[in-house]
């Protein structure tokens, strides 16, 4: 078991490019959206890049207009292809990663296929100051045990050719989430962290959920991706 430094993560310390990866439905997109907003409150130039070619619904691109109104550059496939079920990565994605005056958040697709897309940015990313966050929800089927999750982390690192910098605890069961679920996720993420030698950056909590002290820095989020009956 590796000794992991106690996380002292602060959003101010995040490197210029923040990439969110994980398994299907781990909450990457929702966290990436909120992370971009948080950065926007501190930095002038923020870009949010949608390189998720896997998910057909509930995507960053669905929030493009809303986020652009808030002054965030949202990089998606061009308008006429935005609904196409095709793996399109805008050439602007690399362009914005290279812009040194920009803070960049990358919402990557889930699973191995998402990591393949990230791997295509390897040569660009390796030259830039970046952090890669692996998002974990232990209430999702493919990350419900420590062993399974560790396997996924190792495989996704190999596929993407990039090293994961931090784990993110996004433990939740939707609108049924209680404090105990969030705290269970902290233990879970910590065990994984000890096994792979990666620190846990933060615990994600939806703004309307009451949760006392968390072990890891808390990152409160607002839900943007809604079902038609939640509008």
């Amino acid at each position: 078991m590796m000794k992991v430094q106690k996380s002292m993560f602060e959003i101010e310390k995040v490197r210029r490019v923040a990439v969110f990866i994980g398994m299907f439905g781990s909450g990457k997109t929702e966290i990436a959206l909120n992370f971009a907003l948080k950065l926007k409150s501190k930095y002038e130039e923020v870009a949010l890049e949608d390189i998720d070619v896997i998910s057909p619904y509930f995507r960053t691109r669905d929030l493009k207009a809303e986020f652009e109104k808030m002054g965030i550059d949202v990089i998606t496939p061009e308008e006429k292809l935005i609904h196409a079920d095709l793996p399109i990565i805008s050439p602007k994605v690399k362009g914005f990663i290279n812009k040194e005056n920009y803070r960049v958040v990358i919402d990557c697709g889930g699973n191995d296929d998402g990591a393949v897309v990230l791997s295509s940015l390897y040569s660009t990313l390796r030259n830039e100051d970046h952090d890669i966050f692996f998002v974990i929800n232990p209430y999702r089927p493919f990350t419900d045990t420590v062993n399974k999750t560790v396997e996924h982390i190792k495989r996704l690192e190999k596929t993407s050719r990039l090293k994961i910098s931090y784990l993110v605890n996004n433990s939740n069961i939707g609108n049924l989430t209680e404090e105990r679920n969030i705290l269970y996720g902290e233990d879970f993420a910590e065990k994984i962290g000890e096994s792979v030698g990666i620190p846990v950056a933060m615990t994600v909590i939806k703004e309307d959920i009451k949760c006392g002290n968390t072990r890891f820095p808390r990152f409160e989020i607002k839900k943007f991706l809604k079902t038609p009956w939640e509008v």
Binding site: F24, G25, S55, P56, Y57, F58, H83, D85, N137, Y139, R140, P141, F142, D144, N172, I173, G174, N175, L176, T227, P228, W229, E230, V231
Partner: protein, 357 residues
């Protein structure tokens, strides 16, 4: 831990099938259903099941035909264009009276259409789709938990009546995530063996034949009459629907699946405005709850059917209620979901006497 988990509709139906004792899945990925296929590819080997990706939906349906002839639980999932490709096989399966489950995660059509959610495959699901006088049992869930429950029920009904069952859902319910509680595992060894007709374990007995073919018109008609007798029995026993806010309702919505769920949000808003409106949500689309809907509509000033299509279930609503002067329809198509505010406007216009909606 026996706790609820966060699951996508597509994954949830896959897990529900595994827990219902299904160990055979033949299929082909298609958006917005592909997570289902992926889930089964990963999950079935863990329970000694067989996942096979076919070269097309045409071969998938014929693999199901073959597997179902052995009386073994078998299923596939697909989305609209994929299910169109399966129609010939579905007709053969219905004719041969074989139990199996199809899931159609409906997307916008016709043709290649798009990948957004729709309800425009209602006619295909409930009125045939393939050739001949046959019916699938068609069940339409409104939540992911209900999707899970109906998969289990679907397999049971398929076995009980030796009939194909369709779970008719849509991209929204396939793609979204919700907390779900899964049922206990049913072991394949505890399932009905169909030992009186299935093409297995018949060594030393008379040869068994499973087919949807009879060259003698008199005998073929007899077969058709027998099918109809079975369909009447299903109609008498297997109607499922739910009513919401109907106790004091002066008006009512009719909607199924995702649309039914949106209508519940609309009703809560309408009731805050003082409009007493309820919802009738058919869950079994075939057999359709004609009598139950007629009864529910009695005394209602207006009945408003809302669909994610240009109007398909509305035909059954009219057949049920007969008094067409009170029946109104509003629908959006092409993968567009009517929004709660849009439906409120339509409702207010209809209540205000405007018939041009």
């Amino acid at each position: 831990m026996a706790e609820k988990v966060m699951v996508k509709g597509n994954e949830a139906m896959g897990e529900a099938a595994v827990r219902s004792g299904c160990r055979l899945y033949f299929g082909y990925p298609i958006t917005p259903q592909s997570e289902f296929t992926e889930y089964m590819a990963r999950r079935l080997p863990e329970v000694n099941g067989t996942f096979l990706q076919s070269e097309s939906e045409v071969s998938a349906v014929n693999m199901i035909y073959g597997a179902a002839a052995t009386g073994t639980r078998v299923m596939t999932s697909t989305s609209s264009p994929g299910f169109s490709l399966m129609q010939e096989g579905v007709s053969y399966i219905a004719g041969a009276e074989l139990p199996c489950v199809f899931v159609n995660v409906v997307r916008g059509g016709p043709g290649l259409g798009d990948i957004q959610p729709a309800q425009s495959d209602y006619f295909q699901a409930t009125k045939g789709g393939g050739h001949g006088d046959y019916h699938m049992i068609v069940l339409a869930p409104g939540t992911i938990q209900e999707s899970v429950d109906l998969i289990k029920k679907g397999f049971d009904l398929a076995d009980k009546y030796r009939n194909p069952v369709m779970i008719l859902t849509d991209g929204m319910l396939g793609q979204m995530m919700e907390p779900v509680e899964f049922p206990e595992f049913v072991e394949p060894d505890d399932l009905p063996t169909h030992s009186d007709w299935a093409l297995k374990n018949a060594e030393g007995e008379n040869a068994r034949i499973v087919r949807a073919f009879n060259i003698d018109p008199v005998e073929l008609e007899e077969l058709n009459i027998a099918y109809q007798k079975k369909y009447r029995k299903i109609t008498e026993n297997e109607i499922i629907y739910k009513e919401y806010f109907m106790d004091d309702a002066e008006y009512m919505f009719v909607g199924y699946g995702t649309m039914g769920r949106i209508l519940i949000s609309v009703i809560k808003e309408a009731r805050e405005q003082g409009i007493k409106i309820g919802l009738f949500r058919p869950i079994s689309l075939w057999p359709f709850p004609y009598k139950e809907l007629k009864k529910a509509s009695e005394g209602k000033k207006a009945i408003i059917d809302i669909e994610m299509s240009e109007g398909q279930m509305i035909e059954d609503v009219k057949l049920a209620i007969e008094d067409s002067s009170r029946i109104h329809f509003y629908g959006r198509s092409g993968g567009i979901i009517p929004e709660p505010n849009e439906i409120l406007d339509v409702m207010n216009k209809i209540i205000g006497g405007d018939n041009n909606v």
